[in-house]
Amino acid sequence: MKPVHYWHCFVGIQVREWLRFWQQRTRFFSALVRPLLWLVVFAAGFRAVLGVSIIPPYQTYITYETYIAPGLCGMIVLFNSMQGALSMVYDRELGSMRVLLMSPLPRPFLLVTKLLSMGIVSIGQVYVFLLVARLLDVEPPAWGYLAVLPALLLASLMLGALGLLIATWIKQLENFAGVMNFVIFPMFFLSSALYPLWKMQEASPWLYWLCQFNPFTHAVEAIRFALYLQWNPQAFGITAAVTLVLAGLATAGFRPQRTKILDTKTA
């Protein structure tokens, strides 16, 4: 196969993902409710309790809404990527996955492209969220909207790869509720999405270290810094490295027979 074949395949998968998004656009908007609730209700309620001092990348005091907005962007990517990756091997996408895996192109390429395309759709959702957040006075610099794109892509790929890895290997977590309780919620709450890590360190050093080991923390920080036009090489580097490792493990260990893609009960 030549590079042009890879390109046609890449474009085809992207197009399909956007077509599906268009077909299910009501779900797209309903999924926006969760982060907006956090931004409008949670942040308003906790603003006084969780005051934020001046920390990079911010150059002045900020509102709590401003602080959690990048974390909520991460939240959107986290939920969508994990749910998307799980659906690849468990329910909604089974038929499509069979077709995908029949392609003569290498499976790692197909799987990463698929994860990336799902990530791109969820990034569309992040931008809609950021637009609404702007109306609520969360106003990052204009160029920040562009600068944040690579961080969002990386985060979505990392979380999608994690979802695929979990779905392929851990049969006990085969429903989304299990993944919510054991993966998504711990990842989200043990991160810098809702509170700066120095606050966590004051409360509990070991929780602070758990947050530091959580790759989602670094993904959120990469998003936060990029959105405010600053480069955080540590956050970006860790997110990129974890993405590489997870994508490598997820694609190398992917076996359709470990999933429901090939329902062998019908053999």
């Binding site: 196969m1 030549k2 042009v4 074949h5 890879y6 046609h8 395949c9 474009v11 085809g12 998968i13 197009v15 399909r16 077509l19 599906r20 077909q23 299910q24 089974l94 038929g95 499509s96 069979r98 077709v99 995908l100 895996l101 029949m102 392609s103 003569p104 192109l105 290498p106 197909l110 076996r255 359709p256 027979q257 893609i261 090939l262 329902d263 062998t264 019908t266 053999a267």
Partner: protein, 242 residues
């Protein structure tokens, strides 16, 4: 194109599902893979399509090993799965274009081929309908049209008539036979329904993971001293024909 399976074995955990299965498919012929439910047909299809990894043995398409050169081999195979593999939310044409893209075809070429196949399968008028609106027979035809888009030489159909009424089953079966005759396509049609098999077909009978017979339907009947395929199948497998 010749297709050869050589000593295919497969086990799920401690359960041996396929044992030393070997056969050769003749180019341009209709082959029926006959076996009761649980015989190992879908597992064999899973192996032939790389959804399952080969454990022992190998498959060769024109001498190309599926184990060693999977991409080359997969370019020549079209598959219709037992379960629906169409995206119900997308239109018929969108489903075809997606498949074409996965095989590296350009948008222009994909459109050209899609239109041709839709015409051939009398689906042109439904091209822009969401698949969800199609009945079972039409969906199956879309799946076959899709499987042929990349011009395979081997078409695998895993119990393609499941869920269809009698008339649709017969229509689909005769349509695939026509394709086989007109395009020189090698067809492997897995089924547990004897009425979908004709005496002139090449028949492979799989039972409990073992290939019990492989040859012309009529020759198998003669060999077993049975009047027809149904009784031959029954005699070999001890199973009633559905």
């Amino acid at each position: 194109m010749t297709i050869e399976a050589r000593n295919i074995g497969f086990r799920y955990g401690s359960k041996q599902v396929l044992t030393e299965v070997s056969f050769t498919l003749a180019a341009g012929r209709f082959h029926a893979l006959l076996g009761p439910n649980g015989a190992g047909k879908s597992t064999l299809f899973g192996l032939m399509t790389r959804l399952l990894a080969l454990q022992t043995g190998d498959l060769f398409l024109d001498g190309q090993s599926l184990r060693k050169q999977p991409a080359d081999a997969m370019r020549h195979i079209g598959v219709v799965f037992q379960q629906n593999a169409l995206d119900l939310d997308l239109t018929v044409r969108q489903n075809l274009l997606y498949h074409a893209a996965l095989h590296g075809l350009s948008r222009k070429e994909a459109r050209l081929r899609s239109d041709r196949e839709l015409e051939r399968f009398a689906l042109a008028e439904r091209a822009n309908d969401p698949v969800r609106l199609l009945n079972g027979g039409h969906r199956r035809r879309v799946e076959i049209a899709r499987a042929l888009l990349h011009h395979p030489t081997l078409l695998l159909l895993d119990e393609p008539t499941v869920g269809l009424d009698v008339a649709s089953r017969a229509a689909l079966n005769s349509h695939v036979r026509k394709l086989c005759a007109e395009d020189g396509l090698t067809v492997l049609w897995a089924t547990h329904l004897i009425e979908e098999v004709q005496p002139e077909d090449r028949v492979l009978i799989l039972h409990e993971g073992v290939l019990l017979a492989n040859g012309e339907g009529q020759a198998l009947c003669d060999h077993e001293g049975q009047p027809d395929l149904a009784t031959t199948f029954h005699a070999l497998t001890g199973a009633g024909s559905s």
